[in-house]
């Protein structure tokens, strides 16, 4: 099981968390473009490398936060 470094609760087992996905940024809501929003919804970089991702500590402090994880080795480190 992965140990996920929660910035509030410290390292905890991944079963307490929900993996939300890539930490992508939302398109500008004041000038919505369908292409941008659909790309935001569906397109995935899915790199076999270090990625920045969002996690949710559902069985803990219920915060959303970012971590960096290597998608091949599953090594996890806190996002800067």
């Amino acid at each position: 099981m992965l140990l996920v470094p929660c910035p509030w609760c410290g390292p905890r087992g991944s079963a307490e968390f929900r993996f939300v996905g890539d930490a992508s940024s939302r398109p500008d809501a004041s000038a919505p473009k369908p292409d941008e929003w659909r790309a935001y919804l569906y397109a995935q970089a899915n790199e076999a490398d270090w990625t920045t991702e969002t996690w949710y500590h559902r069985a803990g402090c219920r915060r959303y936060f970012k971590v960096e994880r290597h998608r091949v080795s599953n090594e996890v480190r806190s996002a800067p």
Partner: protein
């Protein structure tokens, strides 16, 4: 004859060649799994296109095609899905005779259990969609489930009582390695070249058109590249500048020690995230749902084994003394609508047959047949038109989650 040859201590004849890589091919297929090999086979058989190279960085059937739990069925939820997988079942039924290779297809029946009212409702829905399209599928009650699977706990007072099941008699299991080898041998005999240990390093695109590929064994000129990979499909598409709506997740599976045959159907429980069948050798094969955390890691985990054991014993308490022999993981390319991505891309000559999630093996033959038609004629066959890449920017998703999320 097999016995005679075995006793003579001579090398066995090779089932396929290991040729040198040539400088140009009409078609380069990336991935020597069931999808890539079936595409090559149907290209050669149906359209006479044999100047084809199938390249793979590993060996034949070493990815998802050799890691799946070998279940074949066609009781999907959407009419598009049912028509598609039913064609695959039909092709699998004649495959052994066609390839002259025993693929051990056993249509032993497939049960998807319902543990609550909403899944029973979805089963009913699926059964009606299936029957309308001529696929044998029916909702049955606990009594009949107990008759089909005597070891199942169908009592009312379990944590997840079994309220019914979707029974799909033509579903079953197949020897996945035999399917890969059979397709490889037949394609090779017709002139297709299979290059194992040949890694794709880059795709050359000029003016949005494919002109060639770079591999670990040299450069190839080709106007057509078909991405038939699982696990690495995003990375390979990125070489052509295409971003896919795919997230790669591991899925773990395990087998037990062999025991006498007692389980004569495939049993699936979406609620308990488990499916089980018994092989001809007597081992029980278990699979689960995909890991919710995206990863390219194929390591097994104790957490999986513990969870699996709990769920299996919920269904069949009498298996508590069985020992697990081995466990492994495969990579599943999940799409947002639990349907594949097939067909053309904005880059001319770069085709995809990817995003097969947890249902790729059962679709191997029909995908190969349809992709071969697309490559040879340049027209997208109607059967795969709903699964095009453009459905994501255009917002017309297929929605197969009710039948494909866990159901194997």
């Amino acid at each position: 004859m097999l016995v005679r040859h075995g006793l003579r201590n001579r090398p066995w004849p090779r089932a396929w060649r290991a040729p040198d890589l040539r400088a140009a091919y009409d078609v380069v297929i990336v991935g020597a799994g069931v999808h890539g090999l079936a595409t090559a086979y149907y290209l050669a058989r149906n359209f006479g296109v044999t100047n084809v190279a199938v390249i793979d960085k590993g060996y034949i059937g070493g990815g998802g095609s050799g890691r799946n739990t070998a279940i074949v069925r066609s009781n999907y939820l959407t009419p598009e899905g049912v028509a598609f997988y039913d064609r695959s079942v039909k092709l699998y039924e004649q495959l052994a005779a066609e390839l002259n290779f025993n693929v051990m297809f056993s249509q032993r029946g497939h049960l998807t259990l319902a543990h609550n009212d909403s899944s029973l409702r979805t089963m009913r829905w699926r059964a009606e969609v299936n029957k309308l399209q001529g696929v044998d599928s029916e909702v049955i009650g606990p009594d009949e489930i107990a008759r089909l699977v005597p070891f199942m706990d169908v009592s009312e007072h379990t944590r997840y009582p079994i309220l019914g099941a979707l029974y799909h008699p033509p579903g079953g299991t197949i020897r996945h390695d035999a399917v890969n080898w059979g397709y490889a041998r037949a394609a090779d005999a017709m002139g297709v070249e299979i290059h194992q240990q040949t890694e794709l390093l880059g795709i050359d695109v000029v003016d949005d058109e494919v002109v060639g590929v770079t591999t670990s064994r040299g450069h190839i000129s080709t106007p057509v590249v078909v991405n038939c990979t699982a696990g690495w499909s995003s990375l390979i598409s990125a070489m052509a500048g295409i971003t896919l709506p795919i997230s790669t997740h591991p899925l773990e599976a395990a087998v037990t020690e062999p025991v006498k045959p007692f389980l004569h159907t495939v049993v699936v429980s979406g609620t308990l995230h488990v499916y089980v069948s018994q092989t001809d050798r007597g081992e029980l094969v278990f699979g689960a749902s995909t890991d919710s955390v995206a990863s390219y890691s194929m390591r097994g985990s104790l957490a999986f084994c513990e969870e699996l054991a709990g769920h299996v014993l919920e269904l069949m308490p009498s298996l508590s003394k069985l020992r697990v022999l081995r466990q492994w993981a495969g990579l599943c390319d999940m799409t947002p609508d639990f349907s594949p991505v097939m067909g053309v891309t904005p880059v001319q000559g770069f085709l995809v047959d990817v995003g097969w999630g947890t249902y790729g093996f059962k679709a191997g033959p029909v995908s190969g047949e349809a992709m071969a038609e697309l490559i040879a004629t340049g027209k997208t066959p109607e059967m795969i038109a709903p699964f095009d890449l453009a459905r994501f920017p255009e917002g017309r998703l297929v929605g197969e989650k009710g039948a494909a999320a866990v159901g194997h």
